[in-house]
């Protein structure tokens, strides 16, 4: 008898609870308003728009303060790994990059759903303004896990007057022309210690990108992520690496300091007139032309990177940062509101004026932006064919092994063939050990 009563009571309570919650359920912003949102990202200097424009406006509109944590990339990785692997997190907005996709995205919300839910409130967000390849940057395993905020691609920066001086009225379109221009510019720039080319040659995170645009423009590739067939020691990539290394070790038309250069030093090198040409990230164009910090301000022009044998072969890499809402986040709806605001046309446009490289096509091709930032349309053009760096979890290991190979070639210790054969065999070993093949 008692048991029956208990069961009845339980059922009664259960249904009462259900009714209660359905009565309490309200559409969309049912979550109570927090007083702050926690944003964890890296410490790149392009966050100014988020810090100084979007966050204050967001606070004015909603009364919610946004609390930013800026960490260097490795610190960010450590923090995200620690927090997201646990149960529940205090982070509301995560800034993440492509290489985190494998391990991060299972902890992120499905942003297609979030977009759909928000569509009625933000009709002019225009998700199609983001190219499919760019949307792919924030997608892994079929799930959209963020909204791309900053997209950088490798383009060709050159000092127009210097090239014209050595007879190039338009930028080099093939490797052969590039070599010619580099040698000529080095000779012309010898009195002022200026070389033809700059490289990101330090054995660090920039090295692969430094080589990647050369490799892809010669038709080379890393590997096939589905079959694990390795292409990096095939002729196109080997030729590209040999060309890349020879410019430094044989023809001496690359700044020798490049062996210690990563992102920052390349920027400084351009600002200090150390080289006439460089293949590096698109938004660096603004930094090279920054009259407050650059000795070469106003002298730069841009084009897509030279192709191996013809301009049509020109290919490059792209990557960047996306903003996403983690699954364990406590204020998901408000966090997504912030992301939508930051990624809206209006604020992304503002961000470009504050050193960001927004991925929206409409902004990159906006006449006012084109006039101000000559690299924007070039970036847009390059992005149409740019290839995303591999994002398999094993790529991190493979990329480290690749760096060793490239470094050996740049030091003149090995030929490209020998170095890349070694890289390929290292990759085979890693793939086998990970049980992927």
């Amino acid at each position: 008898m008692a048991k029956k009563l208990t069961q009845t009571r339980r059922r009664f309570l259960g249904s009462a609870l259900a009714t209660g919650t359905s009565l309490a359920a309200r559409p969309a912003r049912a979550q109570s308003k927090p007083d702050k949102l926690v944003f964890v990202g890296d410490n790149g200097m392009w966050h100014d728009c988020l810090y100084k424009v979007v966050a204050p406006d967001f606070q004015k509109q909603t009364g919610i303060r946004v609390d930013f944590t800026a960490l260097p990339v490795d610190g960010l990785t450590a923090r995200l790994q620690a927090e997201l692997n646990g149960s529940g997190t205090g982070i509301d907005i995560v800034q993440w990059t492509g290489s985190y996709a494998g391990w991060l995205t299972p902890h992120m919300e499905d942003h297609e759903k979030l977009l759909a839910a928000a569509a009625s409130r933000h009709p002019d967000f225009d998700w199609d303004d983001f190219m499919p390849s760019i949307r792919g940057m924030a997608t892994w395993d079929g799930k959209l896990s963020g909204i791309p905020y900053r997209v950088t691609t490798g383009i060709f920066h050159y000092q127009k007057a210097l090239l014209e001086q050595v007879g190039f009225n338009k930028p080099p379109e093939t490797f052969a022309e590039l070599q010619q221009a580099a040698i000529a510019c080095t000779k012309a720039g010898a009195p002022v210690n200026r070389y033809g080319l700059g490289y990101m040659g330090r054995q660090g995170s920039a090295m692969s990108d430094g080589f990647c645009s050369y490799m892809r423009s010669n038709g080379g590739d890393y590997y096939d992520p589905k079959t694990w067939e390795i292409f990096v020691n095939q002729p196109p990539a080997v030729e590209a690496l040999q060309f890349y290394g020879d410019l430094l070790t044989k023809y001496h038309c690359v700044v020798p300091d490049s062996l210690t250069w990563e992102w920052n030093e390349t920027i400084a090198g351009g600002q200090n007139d150390r080289f006439a040409m460089v293949e590096t990230l698109s938004p660096y164009g603004s930094l090279f032309n920054d009259s407050k910090a650059s000795r070469t301000a106003g002298k730069w022009a841009w084009s897509v990177v030279p192709g191996g044998k013809s301009l049509a072969q020109s290919r490059t890499y792209f990557g960047g940062w996306s903003l996403g809402v983690p699954k364990g986040g406590k204020n998901q709806e408000w966090a997504f509101e912030f992301i939508l605001m930051a990624c809206s046309k209006k604020y992304m446009r503002r961000s470009m004026l504050l050193d960001n490289a927004p991925p929206r096509l409409s902004i990159l091709n906006d006449p006012e932006m084109v006039a101000k930032y000559g690299w924007a349309p070039v970036a847009a053009q390059a992005l149409r064919t740019a290839v995303l760096d591999p994002r398999d979890a094993i790529w991190a290991t493979m990329e480290l092994q690749l760096r060793t190979g490239i470094s050996a070639v740049l030091l003149g210790e090995k030929s490209a063939k020998a170095a890349l054969d070694q890289v390929a065999s290292d990759w085979q070993r890693s793939i086998r050990r990970a049980g992927l093949k």
């Binding site: 926690v38 890296d42 410490n43 790149g44 200097m45 392009w46 609390d67 930013f68 944590t69 800026a70 960490l71 260097p72 990339v73 610190g75 450590a78 923090r79 790994q81 620690a82 927090e83 692997n85 646990g86 205090g90 950088t152 210690n193 920039a206 992102w263 920052n264 920027i267 400084a268 600002q271 200090n272 990230l281 930094l287 407050k292 910090a293 000795r295 050193d355």
Partner: protein
């Protein structure tokens, strides 16, 4: 031996001059990078990258203003101060007695404890970074300053015990034994007799613990949030990822961060060199 006093005085003065010269050279070599950082903190980005490097330039205060205007700087400074002093004090308060007990009283498990502490210290901290984070968040301590104090203390403790145990072992027992005979307890013997005698070593241990707690980045980055972050975490914002090092910000904050420790070291080194006075040894 007062033969030829003048030549003797001259030799002594030459010796002193030689020492001073060597000291100046050493100080110059050791201080030069700091002085260079000091100089960088007063340069604009263009001046930093000038070729050839500028030794004379028009200084600017913009870097310091930018750093101090950053609202978080003062808070981070306070956090660093609290955490560093907490870690150092805790390490000394519980480490020094342990070292004393190990040196003076053979108890069961003494060697084992000592050995374990050493071995723990040999594990690269990076291995326990994420497990420690998991532990603290389970205890509800994540993002608190206390968790960072605990973490730094566990790094300093083996150090303190190790150094101080060796010091205590070398200390002659007579003084303490006479104190015991006079009726003092072990605690009193420790606190009033042994402790004052090892002041230089205490200061040395303090400086070494402080160095660790003041300058660590990785653990602070993972275990704190914006409100509790320490200076190294704040400074990391200046070292740029793919958009360039903010030399002005980094060097200006670097100078502001190192000044307190220099002041502390200057005050402390006086105690570092207080030796055993003859009176105590004669007993």
């Amino acid at each position: 031996m007062r033969r030829r006093p003048i030549r003797h005085a001259l030799k002594r003065r030459l010796f002193a001059a030689g020492i001073y010269a060597a000291l100046l050279g050493m100080a110059a070599a050791f201080l030069f990078p700091l002085l260079w950082v000091l100089g960088l903190s007063f340069k604009t980005r263009l001046q930093v990258y000038a070729v050839p490097p500028l030794f004379v330039w028009k200084p600017t205060l913009e870097n310091y203003i930018a750093v101090l205007r950053n609202g978080d700087f003062v808070q981070a400074f306070v956090n660093s101060l609290v955490i560093a002093s907490g870690a150092v004090l805790l390490s000394l308060c519980i480490g020094v007695p342990t070292a004393y007990a190990m040196a003076r009283f053979p108890f069961r498990g003494r060697s084992f404890l000592f050995f374990t502490l050493l071995v723990m210290r040999m594990l690269p901290p990076i291995a326990v970074l994420i497990p420690m984070y998991v532990l603290f968040s389970r205890l509800g301590l994540s993002t608190t300053r206390f968790s960072v104090v605990l973490a730094y203390t566990t790094f300093s403790l083996p150090l303190v015990v190790w150094i101080m145990r060796g010091i205590f072992e070398e200390l002659p027992r007579e003084l303490e034994e006479s104190a015991w005979v006079d009726g003092a307890s072990r605690y009193a013997a420790f606190g009033r007799v042994a402790l004052p005698l090892i002041r230089p070593a205490l200061v040395a241990a303090t400086i070494l613990c402080l160095q660790l707690a003041w300058n660590d980045f990785l653990f602070a980055a993972v275990l704190t949030d914006n409100a509790t972050k320490t200076l190294p975490v704040l400074m990391a914002a200046y070292s740029g990822s793919d958009t360039g090092v903010d030399w002005g910000g980094m060097t200006a904050s670097g100078i502001l961060v190192v000044i307190p420790v220099i002041v502390f070291s200057f005050l402390a080194q006086r105690h570092l060199v207080a030796g055993l006075s003859a009176g105590a040894v004669k007993g």
